[in-house]
């Protein structure tokens, strides 16, 4: 059993952002989440990543109840999330970002022995840098490695977010609108990165508005509206579902 | 025994009102300019020394001195806002550090002008009222009444005038308020100055009761911040109540436990509250 969400709800005062959502994600799947703005997609991902504590319901990860667990522990358990609006460490370079993201990898590599690296930082640093370089290459950011992250374009910043998440060697990667704001070439690159992740065995859960992009490689789609799940199935099933069409596209039936 | 406790509670309430007016200044400043002005205690001291000087040295009638002291404190507030705080809007750490620097400057100024020797104002309103075995000086009661009135008027203004509503709107949602035509920079300057004026009137009234030392500013800002946090920073209505609760806690604490640790009782209470209700007793904003 991989990820199992049961009757998850989140209330902010009087506002119900997520309402009794239940879903399962199997290992190796790629699940796409779609829904109009305000349907609770980002809140759902924030709940899974531990950035928000649920008002009610449970999140079970590999059999373990992680509802309300802190984000750093959830990341250590293998669930990593990227941000819709790229989150960066101002002033630092692209390489430094990825090196910081290598913290979990360093921990897993050396455990307590990493304390020794304080006195002999070189070997561990080189190992980490090698991994960083591989990730940056995949995300087409190798050239920017020493530039300040703030100087990147919007699309590059988003890819940096993905790169950092990849450094954490996630089992389940939650991507919040990775394609929004990206140019055509960047989207192709993103697709390549996601396919590489899939080959690596990483399970993906992707929010996006570009339905075509999602339908292309997601095994399953989940549709949300007003915080509730309204459809769950293959791309064909969900996109053909009348309530989804109404929610997303208004009354007109249109192609994806 | 009950009389003694009651007496202490009453004292605590009166001192608490002084804490409350500083707390109101702290909360207003935080809500509108995004910083905590640690130097507010110094503006209280300015008001106090101004009132003392005008009454005892220039021989002006006390009410006039108070009014002038408030103006002076407000002017000082305006100057420091223009020179310093306008550059630290919404930057909590910088605002904090600048205000701390300002404390040294103002306190040193006071030490040079007035020396550390405590100043006592000649009795303005002598005599006291008795209720059973409890005696309260008239001046303390008048102080309490005036401060209460000022705070109440502030609340009313915030609730009912256009300016007041604009202030509250800005505290809730700065962008929306800007879009609705609220002149935010002026509002921020205004609130900054008003907080200093509030501190000034607190100081001017304080001068009529207690003796003045340049170090009083540091003491009161700590209490004011404690009271504001206790109530919940951003909670305007709670500031006064927070101050009174703090005042009573200290008085009762000093009654049953060593007096030397008087200041500590409020601190301990504060830390305890922060642990269990981080947004304060009444909940704050931001």
């Amino acid at each position: 059993m991989f990820l199992k969400v049961e009757e998850l709800s989140k209330r902010f005062g009087g506002l119900v952002a997520v309402s009794a959502v239940s879903l399962d994600i199997e290992e190796g799947e790629i699940v796409g989440i779609l829904g109009p703005n305000g349907s609770g997609k980002t809140t759902l991902l924030n709940l899974l990543a531990g950035l928000l504590a649920p008002s009610s319901g449970t999140i079970l990860w590999q059999g373990r109840d992680i509802s309300g667990t802190k984000p750093d522990l959830i990341a250590a358990l293998g669930i990593v999330k990227t941000f819709q609006n790229p989150q960066l460490f101002a002033e630092l370079s692209v390489l430094e970002h990825v090196m910081i993201a290598g913290h979990l990898a360093l921990k897993r590599l050396l455990g307590f022995a990493r304390s020794k690296t304080i006195f002999a930082p070189k070997p561990a640093r080189q190992e980490l840098e090698a991994r960083a370089e591989r990730v940056l290459r995949l995300c087409r950011l190798s050239e920017e490695a020493h530039r300040p992250a703030a100087a990147l374009s919007y699309g590059e910043e988003k890819m940096l977010g993905v790169a950092m998440a990849m450094m954490c060697e996630p089992k389940l990667l939650l991507l919040d609108e990775p394609a929004s704001g990206l140019g055509q070439a960047e989207i192709v690159n993103l697709g390549a990165v996601l396919r590489d992740l899939r080959e690596h065995g990483t399970t993906l859960c992707v929010i996006d508005h570009k339905v075509a992009f999602l339908a292309e490689f997601a095994h399953r789609l989940i549709a949300l509206q007003n915080g509730s799940k309204i459809a769950d199935g293959t791309a064909q099933e969900v996109l053909g579902n009348q309530s989804v069409i109404t929610a997303y596209l208004g009354r007109q039936h249109a192609g994806a | 025994m009950t009389q003694v406790i009651l007496g202490q509670v009453l004292n605590g309430i009166i001192v608490g009102t002084l804490y409350g007016i500083i707390a109101l200044g702290v909360t207003l400043t935080f809500g509108i300019t995004g910083i905590v002005n640690f130097a507010l205690g110094q503006f209280m001291m300015i008001g106090a020394y101004a009132a003392w000087h005008l009454t005892d040295v220039a021989h002006l009638p006390y009410p006039l001195s108070v009014a002038l002291a408030v103006l002076i404190a407000g002017l000082a507030g305006f100057l420091s806002d223009r020179a310093l705080f306008q550059f630290t809007r919404n930057h909590l750490v910088n605002g904090l550090l600048v205000s701390i620097g300002l404390i040294s400057v103002i306190e040193s100024g006071a030490l040079l002008l007035f020396t550390a020797t405590p100043k006592n104002m000649d009795f303005v309103l002598s005599g006291s009222w008795t209720l059973g075995a409890i005696t309260i000086s008239r001046m303390k009661v008048v102080t309490f009444a005036v401060l209460l009135a000022v705070i109440a008027l502030t609340w009313l203004a915030l609730a009912n005038t256009w300016l007041g509503r604009a202030t509250r709107a800005y505290a809730q949602n700065p962008e929306a308020a800007m879009l609705m035509g609220v002149k935010t920079e002026m509002l921020q300057v205004g609130v900054s100055v008003y907080s200093c004026a509030l501190a000034g009137i607190g100081g001017a009234l304080y001068a009529g009761i207690y003796s003045l030392e340049p170090s009083m500013g540091a003491l009161f800002i700590l209490k004011g911040v404690e009271a504001a946090i206790l109530a919940g920073v951003g909670n305007l209505a709670g500031a006064l109540v927070g101050g009174i609760i703090l005042g009573i806690t200290e008085s009762i604490g000093a009654l049953f436990l060593p007096t030397a640790f008087r200041d500590a009782y409020g601190l301990v209470f504060l830390v305890a509250i922060l642990l269990f209700r981080p947004s304060g007793l009444f909940g704050g904003q931001k």
């Binding site: 750093d72 910081i100 921990k107 954490c168 | 750490v93 040294s104």
Partner: protein, 311 residues
Amino acid sequence: MSAVWLLVPLYMVPLVSHNEVLLTILIFTYILGILAIGFNIVFGYAGQLTMFHGAAFGIGGYATFLILTKLGISFWLAMLPMFVVILLLSMIVGWVCFKFRLREFYFAVVTLAFAELIRLVVLNWNDVTNGTLGLLVLDKPTIWWPGRGVVKIDGTVPWYLLTLTALGAVTIVSQLIVRSWIGRNFAAIRLNEELAQTLGINTFRYKMLAFTISNLFAALAGALFGFYSNYIEPAQLSITQSLDAIAMVLLGGMGSILGPVVGAFLLTGLPHIIEFSAELRAATYGAILILVILLMPRGVVGLFSRWRHVS
């Protein structure tokens, strides 16, 4: 390049100059520099504004002296239990501040509250601490010197060498920490705590670490200060002590390991260049603080170079 090499030439100063005033200024610079470096770690690198280091500084002095006198052991041995005390205090105060997810402003207030509480205790516990009168410290640390056996560290030049060496040790330790993955995590927490958490960094643990390190350095400085100036008093625990350290760090520059020492030198040396009354000195400190924040956020060192926080 290791910053420590910058300190090596300073060993030559006593050979070149016999000016007591200069050497004394430098001794205080090194001692307060240790305090400032500590604060720089928790604030400049990890981004947490805390006001506890002043209390740690004072406790360093009081605890070392009291342990030394009550147990009759040497200065060095007395420091060990003192460090344990600081460690425990840091863990308690740090736990209160960081566990409860208090926002930045609240740490400053809560650490200030704890520091004030400690000061009040010290001020009033007359049997042990002698209250406002303070304690006279006549003991001196001793060291084994080849050829002379056990020697007391007494007099300007020995103290100069001792404090410079202590500063060197602190600099080496700071550098090792800051240039390691720990320093990277401090920077991450300072720059974007939420992002750091989603990347698996336990921000609570690292904030505690930074806070504890800052207090340990402060305590070391306090012990040296007390035993050098022969006097330990409650004022060494005050908020003013914390503020002085903050001013030094801001003035010298937060972006480098030794920047705070430059700040310490400027603020220690200044009163000697210009004869100030105590009030004017305080006013000048305040004015400097304000000017630095508004005009020179990178401090003096920042004016000369663009050193960055993460290596």
